[in-house]
Amino acid sequence: MISPVVVALVLSASPGDLQVSHRRVNAPDGVALAVYRYQRPGVVSSLPPVVLVPDVGFSRAAWDFEGRGLARWLSATGRLVYVVELRGQGKAGPGLALTPMVTVDLPSVLDALKLERIDLVVHGWVGSLVLAVHGQSARIRRVVALNTPLFAAPPSALATAFLADGGRFSTLASSPSGARTFHELFALWAELPSGTEQAFLSTGTRDLSRPVAAELLAWMNTGDRPLGGQSVSARLAALDRPTLLLLGLADGFAPPEQCAVLRERAPGPVELHTFSRAEGGEDFSHLSMLLGREAPKKVFPRIGAFLGEAAP
């Protein structure tokens, strides 16, 4: 059974302002997980809380970085928001495998927070895993999936090299060539506020463990991986929650061409939008979809509108 250790810590609060609090939840195997709660005092939404899950190697910063991001944006609309860091992410304990992140950690967090009904926003490869495991859960009302891959395609040479080297973001941060690798994979053609890319690389990422990097590379190479007696793609093909699938054309880490097929495979309703500069704005990369200058104008309102719908 879960034995949550609550470290309720109000990180920023003044009357009427957004309150951000942090607590720790221990998974049954003892791994510490981190949860951040965003709420405006006195604001009560009739809609369920929104849970935001970062991609592998990313942290809470993906959703809230230097005062920007979807967590604050959604909370400003009155929604109660939780950002979770699963094992291997941010301030959570070490992650040596991908599967427990979604089979153990996420349910542990939801149970500890006593969340019976949520909206879910997921990103990238971890997002695919979350949907594969929880895509039919009655606990989830609506899903927003940001570049969540499903279809097999050979990973780029750069992605292969990065993961074969252990997925060490800290190495990328320490050299110009590493910074270029990060740029090509995560921030291609991104319109980010000045300094964001380097700052995020330094403080918003965390090295993958070698086993996780190897697992991820194998997944990318084969386009699938075992999961609970089935495969990720087979389980994703059962996703029946109403889903908004948003794709950034410039995402080099979770390429849109590997993600779009979710619309066809999933039996539930999947609303698809692909961003490109052809319509103005930007193509959106893995990072700028979350923290780009255009994200609050182009991406967040779509998410807010989709999650703001009352039914089902």
Binding site: A157, W189, E257, T274, A278
Partner: protein
Amino acid sequence: MRWGWLLLLAGCAGLRVVPLPPEAERHRPKTKDGWEIALVRYRPQGPVTGRPVLLCHGISANDRNMDLDERHSMARWFAAQGREAWTMSLRATGDSDRPDPSKGRALPIFFDDYWEHDLPTAIAHVRAVTGAESIDYAGHSMGGMIAYAYLSQGGTGLHAVATLGAPTRLDWGTGLEAILARLGPKVVSSPDVLLPSQLGAGLAAPFMTVVRDGPFQRIFYNPESTDPSTWQRLVVYGTADTAGGTARQLLALIATGRFTSKDGARDFRADMARIRTPVLVVAGKLDRVALTPAVMDGYGALGGPKRWLLITRANGALGEYGHMDLVIGERAPDEVFRPVLDFFNLHDPP
């Protein structure tokens, strides 16, 4: 008259139509339904290294997309590698026959006319002239879609195929689609028209190098891969009027998500599973016309053997590629044409 206006405009902008070189041989086979299709032949330079290659352009374009000038010519590049290369202009484009009802060449022209008539005619002619049992083929954009349709319906004579930025779905929820879906049916009020896209392009050509990050760069090419002056020349003499029937058939792809014949009876995308011709599917990472998911959709539909090639810095390219960069990009010979040739050679070792 039409060319006169374009030449005038081009002259105003300090541009000129670069003529084909003396070694370009012109051929005009006739389709079964009475249209002469313009083909240009380049004989291989040096020893022959493989089968002839037929190259086909996309919508609102002509053969010069594959043969713009000496430096930007997939055709001449293949010839230089020892491959006999042929370009083709689909009906009502380039030097192919224009519509003339008095001679039995009436509008409308549909996408189906290309794969049912023009492509088989070109393939048969190249085979007859060269004596090749089968040939290789590279199609850009709709030129790739034509190959998909042709092969999916049992078309023969192609040994290996490369498609460059060829989509099989056009419903990806982009803002551009929304605009096309809304305005397209109004602009293309009837299939019985030729939309004056060539004139429009000619009028816009003088301004192509003035705006550095305008709609043309955002939609069609990436200045990091194609010099604006190259793009400008393509606009001047590489564009063609757009057949209303074809435009409507492609607009239907946006509306329905289905890649079918105009009557809906043939589902090309479903039938692509039957294709056993080796196909290399090439996509540009920042292609905002044939988005990578749209190109990947075709790759997924193919029966195989097949190979996916994404042109991007992350795979070693020196710049990102938009839609037109795949054929006229400054580094396309190294970053696109070479892998295409390697793929052809893989399936037909020299």
